[in-house]
């Protein structure tokens, strides 16, 4: 598992540093107002310039002997990563004033909030949909459920988000304001929002607006955060639940054909017990293995959804970073995502072993 992360870092590093000039790699670490000598010494410290390099302009011109080989650069880079030194951000407006690390983790709680709520919605909607589809196979509820889950899988996420915006912000208007907010993590101008004036402030414990507003006992803030969360989370959830529903459905269908289901029915157990105790327990187990996949999909999806809803998370920032070639930001994002996914898979494996008695022995 650690190996995967390590290899991932290698992949990302060589992909970026290998194909971009070292000056780009250096950009986050230097202040453009430094003297050339100052820049060179930082270049050496970061490991991209050799000690034998004469001047910074030589380095920038990629004079041979001036740039350290890629593998050496990697080890310096790895060392920096492990201590959390990602240089200064290149994002416009705050370039050079904050570290990449702090910018990333300042925005990360917003993405986390969005993704976690979306994940919960995915399960809440997706699993029952799959069950209904299986128990009423090939009848109307099955067809509807299959269209919904398949539709979720086929819908462009940005389009779905935009459609929700059109309906709830452009069409349903009350007093000249859309029903729900169009952008941001805190509803400012919408019919259901308290609005800027009434909301006040909160102290930041975790960085996650929902939690912080609860801890600060600021209910209007909490409410406005929830209201702003509805559309983006729904967008993410509905477009991600297709896979889950499909797996639950096919597992349930297979399980319902098993002999022990016939046995359970023959014992005179209620239909509800047969479906939800006997069948579901066996069907849901293999379904948790898609949790890792789902997390991947959610993180990726939040990039798009954050752009559509102008959500202040790391996804929307990623694109800006791409424009200004802030590689460090992107690398940090990739590695953090990698860690989350790998940990999720690990948790799933453990969970599977705990829940399936056959594996425990």
């Amino acid at each position: 598992m650690v190996f995967v992360l390590f290899a991932l870092s290698v992949l990302i590093f060589f992909l970026t540093r290998g194909l971009l000039p070292p000056t780009t790699a250096l950009a986050p670490y230097i202040n453009p107002r430094l003297t050339d000598a100052g820049k060179l010494s930082i270049a050496r410290a970061v490991g991209v310039a050799t000690s034998s390099c004469a001047s910074f302009s030589d380095f920038a011109a990629l004079r041979s002997g001036c740039v350290t080989p890629l593998w050496t650069q990697y080890f310096y880079w790895l060392k920096n990563v492990l201590v959390g030194n990602w240089g200064y951000t290149l994002l416009p407006g705050i370039s050079g004033t904050q570290t990449t690390w702090s910018v990333f983790f300042g925005r990360f709680p917003y993405t986390a909030e969005l993704d976690i709520v979306a994940a919960a919605l995915t399960f809440i909607i997706g699993v029952p949909l799959g069950i209904i589809s299986a128990t009423r196979n090939n009848k109307v509820p099955d067809h509807i459920s299959r269209i919904v889950s398949l539709g979720g899988y086929s819908i462009p996420q940005f389009w779905f988000g935009a459609m929700l915006l059109i309906v709830f912000v452009l069409y349903f208007r009350v007093g000249g304001l859309g029903l729900l907010p169009a952008s941001g993590a805190l509803g400012t101008t919408c019919a259901l929002c308290f609005g800027q004036s009434q909301v006040g402030t909160i102290t930041s414990y975790t960085g996650v607006p929902l939690l912080d507003s609860l801890f600060s006992l600021n209910i209007p803030y909490f409410w406005d955060s929830v209201v702003a969360l509805i559309l983006p989370a729904l967008t993410l959830a509905i477009t991600s639940l297709g896979l889950l529903t499909r797996i639950v459905r096919s597992n349930m269908m297979e399980v319902l054909r098993q002999d022990y289901i016939t046995m359970a029915k023959s014992k005179g157990l209620k239909e509800r017990v047969v479906t939800y105790k006997h069948a579901l327990r066996n069907a849901i187990l293999p379904a948790i293995t898609v949790a890792g996949l789902l997390v991947t999909y959610l993180i990726g999806g939040s990039v798009i959804v954050e752009i559509v809803f102008s959500w202040p998370g790391v996804g929307s920032a990623a694109l800006v970073a791409a424009d200004v070639l802030d590689i460090n930001f992107l690398e940090l994002f990739v590695l953090v995502a990698g860690v989350i996914i790998v940990v999720t898979n690990l948790v799933v494996d453990i969970l599977y072993a705990v829940l399936d008695p056959r594996i425990r022995f």
């Binding site: 022990y260 016939t262 029915k265 157990l269 209620k270 017990v273 008695p357 056959r358």
Partner: protein
């Protein structure tokens, strides 16, 4: 033995199937699985249902229990259990019937027990399904247990209190949830003991995969016994077991049958088992009942050519020759033969056989056969 049961248990039919016709709708067409079968089982009787694979024996059992798959259609006939027509019951009534009146034991206990739940939880859920039906049984059992404990020494105040609780529950016919689970647990453990499972308390907490085939089969029997059914349907219950274990299971079944006096429909393709255990036998071929008789009578005096062929094909240790087989093969029930379905393979077939279906008639007292050789 067969005589004592035929006369001892009262003369009513527990189960009576009349002219049951059933077909399956498959992608390849309609499969005519049951072609108008009729049979009956008296109270306390052990009826064997014999036939080759695919002849419709299991389907018959499923039809009785109301567990047919969705593509099955019953086109004719009745299934009367203790006066009620099973085919006209509402789903909820059918479920209660499966809980209390009919118990089914299946062939391969590995696949018929849910692998992720303990034996105990799969037994306890039976009484949880409809506690009202089990109050008397559970309370009576616990009271007996308390009596046994009391014999050893003083009747302590705890036991007395419990006695009072139980009497109260018996009066109101209601049990609290925890009480239900505890009583069921102790009842289940004693049932597991009565089916000769070693260390039944441990078995109660085990998972199905931890037990051997024979032990799992005993668990299934215990689950059936718990409901004290009027009719026990045993579908090839020994087929998946070793011969030695087979004998034990059959022995166990006989004991238990006499203990709770339920009727049994024993489905099997093994004639040896039939001769060991059954009172009466029904022979089935391609969706039809071709012969019904008392066990001894059938073996002594088989009437239907198919039965004769079956008996002749059993290998015998005392005769030094390879047994005969019946020529031909079982018909495809998508396109069953016209008239008597056995006629293409029958050595005694004559002109009327392919064109009309023979009905079941009493050729010899209490011995029914469906063959034109004997009229019908």
């Amino acid at each position: 033995m067969s005589q004592s049961h035929a006369q001892g248990g009262g003369n009513e039919d527990v189960l009576s199937i009349r002219e049951l016709k059933l077909k399956f709708h498959t992608y390849a067409g309609e499969v005519s699985a049951l072609d108008g079968i009729s049979l009956s089982i008296k109270k306390g009787e052990l009826l064997g249902l014999v036939g080759e694979s695919g002849c419709g024996k299991s389907v018959t059992a499923l039809a009785i229990a109301g567990l047919l798959p969705q593509n099955a259609e019953i086109t004719n006939g009745d299934v009367i259990l203790d006066g009620k027509n099973m085919l006209t019951l509402e789903p909820e009534e059918m479920r209660l019937a499966r809980l209390k009146d009919i118990a089914m034991i299946f062939q391969d206990p590995m696949t018929y027990l849910n692998p992720v739940f303990t034996i105990g939880s799969q037994m306890v859920e039976i009484t949880q399904a409809e506690p009202k039906l089990f109050v008397s049984t559970l309370v009576a059992h616990r009271l007996r247990q308390i009596d046994k404990e009391a014999k050893g020494g003083e009747q302590g105040p705890k036991l007395l209190a419990e006695r009072e609780n139980l009497a109260e529950s018996l009066r109101t016919q209601r049990l609290g949830r925890r009480e239900l689970n505890e009583l069921t647990k102790s009842y289940s453990i004693s049932l597991l003991r009565s089916v000769r499972l070693p260390e039944p308390e441990k078995v109660f907490e085990m998972y199905p995969f931890e037990l051997s085939g024979g032990m799992r089969q005993r668990v299934m029997i215990a689950m059936a016994m718990m409901r004290r059914p009027k009719l026990l349907l045993a579908d090839e219950i020994t087929t998946a077991l070793d011969v030695t274990v087979q004998a034990q299971i059959l022995h166990l079944m006989k004991e238990l049958r006499s203990e709770i006096n339920s009727s049994v429909l024993l489905i099997t393709h093994d004639l040896a088992i039939v001769s060991e255990v059954c009172d009466r036998v029904a022979v089935m071929y391609a969706g039809n009942i071709v012969e019904i008789a008392d066990v001894q009578e059938l073996f002594r005096n088989p009437l239907h050519p198919y039965t004769k062929g079956l008996l002749a094909s059993v290998p015998r240790a005392d005769v030094d020759k390879i047994p005969d087989s019946i020529e031909g093969s079982v018909p495809d029930l998508l396109f069953p033969p016209g008239g008597c379905r056995f006629n293409p393979r029958c050595p005694k077939a004559f002109d009327v056989c392919p064109s009309k279906k023979p009905s079941l008639i009493e050729a010899v007292p209490n011995h029914y056969v469906s063959c034109f050789l004997y009229g019908g």
